[in-house]
């Protein structure tokens, strides 16, 4: 189980969190102006990286706030966490 540092509540077990996938996806301002391919790309296409990956987590059983985590998807090592819109802070580095 991962040990994830919530930027508000501190280190907690993964079971308190829910996963939100790739971070940094920005909803297009005017979806109607997009082609089907562009809208499909926004909805479904993902980097699915092996290695360093910035992703969203929600502290569902805690403060219920969303934040970003930088995690290596091959080793599960967490490199940092950040509040949405802020730069990465060093979080814990535990993997489990």
């Amino acid at each position: 189980m991962l040990l994830i540092t919530c930027p508000w509540c501190g280190p907690r077990y993964e079971s308190e969190f829910s996963y939100g996938g790739e971070a940094g996806l920005i909803r297009p301002k005017d979806p109607a102006a997009l082609s089907d391919e562009e809208w499909g790309d926004y909805l479904y296409m993902r980097e699915n990286k092996r290695g360093p990956h910035v992703e969203q987590w929600c502290h569902a059983a805690g403060c219920r706030r969303w934040f970003n985590v930088s995690r290596d998807t091959a080793t599960n090592q967490i490199k940092g966490v950040s509040r949405i819109g802020e730069s990465m802070l060093g979080g814990n580095t535990d993997a489990g």
């Binding site: 809208w39 479904y44 993902r46 980097e47 998807t73 091959a74």
Partner: protein, 416 residues
């Protein structure tokens, strides 16, 4: 190739089984192939076999980063069934199940298909309505399916706790009698041996590091053993598809997750069918060695590490012990994870890509093993003819822009 038969078995027994020939060659890669298949799992090997057999294309190489059948092919829980809800998926999986039924004869290799019946349990009234809907859909599509109440399930599987006093009581189940299990290593080895006999080069320890293109057309693959020219390239690398596709500048709607399974110590025959439960997410069968083979769910987060969190296993085992109190004192011998590529609609992507000559077969998620022969068959057709077979046409990459998704989430008898 030495044909396997009762006579070859006796002959080799007399020589103390020391003279069995190698089942496939280990050739050096040639400079050029008509088709290069990336990924030596069941799907890739089956594709190579059907390319050679059905379409007469035998200048084919299967490139495998490590050893064949060592990824998700050798890590699944071996369940074979075709009771999917939607017409598109039930047609594809049923065609695959029909190929399974004659696969041992076809390959002259015992894939140990055991059609012992697959139960999908219902625990709530909504579960039962969903099961009923799916059973009717299956029967309309010519797939055998039955709906049983708790008492009938208990008669088939006496060790199942069908009392009403558990947290999620068993209210009934769907049963597909033609479903069951196969031997996953044997499927990879059988296809490898049969493909090799038809001239396919199976090249292990050969990692693809790049996909070379000219004018929007694929020209070959860079590998750890040099450049290999190819007229067509087919990806069959399951959990690693996003990484390979990115080499050709293609974005895919996949997320790779760890999926775990485990086996118990071997015990005498106690469970004669496959029992799956969507609601409490656990599934179990008993292998010929006597081990209980138990599947858990995927970890919520993505991951390529081929290992998952213990909490996921704990959840599956809690459900298992409640359903089968008799298992509560069994010890578990081994636990592992594979990497599965999950698609937003829990259905595969099987067809062409924006790069001419590059094909993709991925997104099977947690359900790829059962489809091995069928997937290989339609993929070979697609690669050989440059257009999809009617069976895999609905599973194109374009569906993620047209919106024609095939939503098998949960509907496919078990949550993906």
């Amino acid at each position: 190739m030495m044909r396997h038969s009762i006579f070859s078995l006796v002959r080799n027994a007399l020589s103390y089984h020391e003279k069995w020939p190698q089942m496939w060659r280990s050739p050096e890669p040639k400079e050029e192939y008509d088709v290069v298949i990336v990924g030596g799992g069941g799907h890739g090997l089956a594709t190579a076999y059907y390319l050679a057999k059905e379409h007469g294309i035998s200048k084919v190489a299967v490139l495998e980063r490590a050893w064949i059948g060592g990824g998700a092919t050798g890590r699944n829980t071996e369940i074979v069934r075709s009771n999917y809800l939607w017409d598109e998926s039930s047609r594809l999986y049923e065609m695959s199940l029909k190929l399974w039924e004659s696969l041992s004869q076809e390959l002259n290799y015992n894939v140990m298909l055991s059609q012992r019946g697959v139960f999908n349990l219902g625990h709530t009234l909504q579960d039962m309505r969903d099961l009923s809907r799916r059973v009717h859909a299956n029967r309309l599509n010519g797939i055998d399916a039955e709906l049983l109440d708790a008492q009938q399930v208990g008669a088939f599987v006496p060790i199942l706790n069908t009392s009403s006093h558990i947290r999620y009581p068993v209210l009934g189940a769907s049963l597909q009698r033609r479903g069951g299990t196969g031997r996953h290593d044997a499927v990879a080895w059988g296809f490898a041996r049969a493909a090799d006999a038809r001239g396919v080069d199976i090249i292990q320890n050969c990692e693809v590091t790049g996909i070379r293109r000219e004018n929007g057309r694929v020209t070959g693959v860079e590998t750890s053993r040099g450049f290999i020219r190819a007229g067509k390239v087919g990806l069959a690398v399951a959990g690693n598809t996003s990484i390979l596709a990115q080499m050709a500048g293609i974005r895919l709607p996949l997320e790779s997750h760890p999926l775990q399974a485990l086996v118990s110590e071997p015990v005498k025959p106690v469970l004669h069918s496959v029992v799956m439960s969507n609601a409490v997410h656990a599934y179990v069968s008993q292998t010929d060695k006597g081990e209980l083979l138990i599947g858990a769910g995927i970890d919520a987060h993505s991951g390529y590490g081929q290992r998952g969190g213990l909490a996921v296993i704990e959840g599956a085992m809690a459900a298992m012990v409640e359903l089968f109190p008799i298992f509560s004192r069994l010890r578990m011998n081994r636990q592992w994870a594979g990497t599965v590529d999950i698609c937003p609609d829990a259905c595969p992507i099987l067809g062409k890509t924006p790069v001419s000559g590059l094909f993709v077969n991925c997104g099977w998620g947690t359900g790829g093993f059962k489809s091995t022969p069928g997937s290989g068959w339609v993929y070979a057709y697609t690669i050989a003819k440059n257009h999809p077979h009617p069976l895999n046409e609905p599973f194109s990459l374009e569906r993620f822009s047209t919106g024609a998704l095939i939503d098998e989430h949960g509907a496919a008898a078990v949550a993906h």
